[in-house]
Amino acid sequence: MEESLFEAPAPEEQERMVEAILFASAEPVTVAEMNARMPHGADGAAAVERLRERYRGRGVRVVRVGDAWAMRTAPDLGFLMQKETVETRKLSRAAIETLAIIAYHQPVTRAEIEEIRGVSVSRGTVDQLLELEWIRFGRRRMTPGRPVTFVVTQGFLDHFGLEHARDLPGLKELRAAGLLDNRPLPGAGEEDAHNEENQGEMFEGE
């Protein structure tokens, strides 16, 4: 193939380019935009039509959205997509603190968690962590009242990319790694923790 400064890329190459552009774009892309991004002389309109043909009957389709183009999964395969539409929210501070205490101190009773956090642990917090399958009940403690203990699960280890909870760095290591600020964290005071608890175990959205 001849290489020229002003020669347009081969049709197959233009098709590849449109394919990559549509795949990576966060928004549907107009033909004008494609042409602007491709080398001089490329014909986005023709390329996108060929691409649409190529994807006919595949698991992914090239679809027209207004005067722009986009790639979408085939509608008949929507049942496979449930996992892609989960909404993720950040855990509340109460929940993450409770989880951290369980991870570092397991097996640990509710009373022990409360002692470490300095505030009572609401039912909702523990329920949520149980529901997420990040914690489970451990063996009962052989002390008066035989309280249940909590431990972290395999799901917890998977989520946090750990092989074992004992691989979590200790306080000294956190400090050495610079993960522990030596200045007060915003709102690290105790009244603050109480406040939060009073407001109910609300989950902060992202």
Partner: protein, 271 residues
């Protein structure tokens, strides 16, 4: 051809003779000025080793040690402050140099000069290799630079499930926050066996009216506070501070005959 890769050919004055060409000398002077640009002695040694223009595996550690010592010497002349680890390395290299130059003492235990030199050469080669590996890694095609992920979020399903997420950093920071909360607490006294000066003052005020004669200070301590040593110390200090306060206000007089003698107080007659 390398000029300095023979361990036995040590120049008479290493600080002068070590740097042969004008170019190398200029390089060395640039090093001095740029000392802040180095990440520690090993980094500096690696840079110096380049002036030997040989394969790192065939480098002369003796020559390198001399270059380094020369560097430290010139830094001294130029009054450039070197961090402690540079000086530690200098001391170690001086030791290594003597080991390499002197015939081995059979009574001497521990590794030979050659073994130590070989280890230093290994460290330099390894650091160099890691730098090259890092450069190769960064030169690879990277996500978001050469290749890209799917840009358009899928919205095909009506099923919405909320999951909660947290990162490992969140977890560790939460734990650190709890465990270090005490560090950040404003300073408060929460020992309970403490008598405050206010308490002592109140007690003294009510008692002092009866003290027309000189009375020992210790007799003013509350009875139940004199048994436990910690409580006695606290009560004594608080009561003494309170007497000073009352003396300042002019309501009592205060005296002590000798160092460590008992302190006595009495009510000021016209107070």
């Amino acid at each position: 051809m390398p000029t300095q890769n023979n361990d036995t050919a040590a120049p008479a004055d290493p600080f002068e003779e070590n740097i042969v060409s004008v170019e190398a000398r200029r390089d060395a002077e640039a090093l001095i000025v740029d000392v802040d640009g180095f990440e520690g002695p090993l980094d500096l040694l690696l840079m110096l080793s380049r002036t030997q223009k040989v394969d790192l595996r065939r480098i002369s550690i003796l020559a390198l040690a001399e270059q380094y010592l020369g560097f430290v010497e010139r830094a001294k002349v130029l009054r450039i402050e070197l961090a402690a680890d540079y000086l530690v390395m200098a001391a170690w290299l001086a030791f290594l140099k003597s080991r390499l130059l002197l015939p081995p003492d059979p009574a001497d235990e521990g590794p030979s000069g050659e073994e130590l030199a070989a280890h230093l050469a290994f460290q330099l080669e390894r650091l160099h290799a890691m730098r090259e590996a890092a450069a190769k890694l960064m030169a690879r095609d990277q996500k978001g630079r050469e290749f890209f992920v799917r840009g358009l979020p899928e919205n095909v399903s009506r099923v919405r499930r909320v999951t909660y997420t947290a990162t490992l950093l969140d977890l560790m920071q939460a734990y650190a926050r709890i465990r270090t909360r005490d560090d950040f607490r404003p300073y408060v006294m929460d020992r309970d066996r403490i008598m405050t000066m206010e308490q002592a003052l109140e007690r003294l005020r009510s008692l002092i009216g009866f003290a027309g004669e000189w009375t020992e200070l210790s007799s003013y301590l509350p009875e139940d506070w004199s048994t436990d040593p910690a409580m006695r110390r606290s009560a004594t200090a608080a009561t003494f501070a309170a007497t000073l306060e009352l003396a300042k206000a002019g309501s009592i007089e205060l005296r002590q005959h000798d160092t460590f003698a008992p302190i006595t107080i009495r009510k000021k007659s016209d107070g």
